[in-house]
Assembly symmetry: C2
Homo-oligomer: 202 residues x 2
């Protein structure tokens, strides 16, 4: 039974993985269930045994899509002691690395954005992710201010701006494969921000 459940979950994960690759290269609507069937080596019946519809597969991907980055952010916020400024620098470096390692999946993100406009469930999931991310950033900024490292008027606005900056860079990056040094841009953006948030000398 344990083995069974594990098998079923593995199969599910395998299907999701195959579907992700297809979705990344062809988009949601141009990817057919038969494509996924072929990619998994399963049959139509086998596929529909694990997922009840195409949307079900898409939602399955969405549900786990943003998880990893959130975990890193969480860990950073709870890291004790270190200076907030250094942790912000570490965060941006980590984001650059993470995004570069997931480069092949970025197109799916764009598909989700386009979908979110029309599908409330997708919008809610993505917004939930950004909300939690923003909350973490606000906590970091507050710690920085408490330690006198930063001077921030409206932390929530600044936090959302940071998120927007990173997402915007990822967007431009995905449109210019190979001609856009994501890491440099992210690090530059972070340094500019830190400079703007520097407390005025007494």
């Amino acid at each position: 039974m344990n083995a069974k459940a594990s098998d079923a979950e593995q199969r599910r994960a395998q299907i999701l993985m195959a579907a992700m690759e297809l979705f990344a290269s062809k988009g949601f609507s141009a990817t057919t269930m038969n494509d996924i069937v072929a990619a998994t080596g399963l049959s139509k019946g086998g596929l529909y045994w694990h997922f009840k519809s195409k949307d079900d597969i898409i939602i399955g991907i969405l549900d786990q899509f943003f998880d990893p980055e959130l975990a890193w952010m969480q860990a950073l916020v709870e890291q004790p002691g270190d200076s907030a400024v250094e942790r912000l620098r570490a965060l941006s470096a980590q984001i650059a690395t993470a995004m570069q390692s997931m480069e092949a999946l970025v197109p799916i993100m764009l598909e989700f954005f386009a979908l979110a406009v029309r599908d409330q469930q997708v919008a809610d999931t993505i917004n939930g992710y950004y909300r939690r991310y923003t909350v973490g950033l606000v906590a970091l900024l507050e710690q920085g201010q408490a330690q006198g490292e930063l001077d921030i008027a409206d932390k929530h606005t600044v936090a959302l701006n940071i998120v927007a900056q990173f997402e915007g860079l990822a967007l431009l990056w995905s449109l210019r494969p190979g001609q856009f040094d994501l890491r440099t841009h992210i690090l530059t953006a972070t340094e500019l921000l830190l400079k703007a948030l520097q407390p005025a000398p007494a």
Copy 2:
């Protein structure tokens, strides 16, 4: 003949307008040619007289989609005399206004982004737009530096970061209809940037 040509162009524009509304609310693939036929009041044959395919309509929209914003930017760069800092502020205010007035069309932008990953023509068009936009920003930044208003290490990187910031904010805004004050965020981002670019006091 003149009247005829103008009629044909008007029809074309009318079709593009109707298609844009449909694409904005249903996305590219979920919008059918029959939908567009119904929305224009034309017939299938009439529609295909003016556009040879669905892709042709999409490209037709793309070709004129980003034009207006570029014109404003161009005008700002060539505006003589005014301080670069003030022109940057004016630019961000203008962008906020423009985006808010085109709110209904933002979903189409997301469709284009998703499409650009797979369609080189779409990618080239969008990249061309961003390139020209960046060139204009770099010119503005250079003017600011020449006048001693700004201190910028890498103007090109900063310009791309500005573009990314605005696009990222537009993205988040489109995902949170009614819960996101785009103007405030854009103006805040601009002020933060200007602060970061302030030359060090002598």
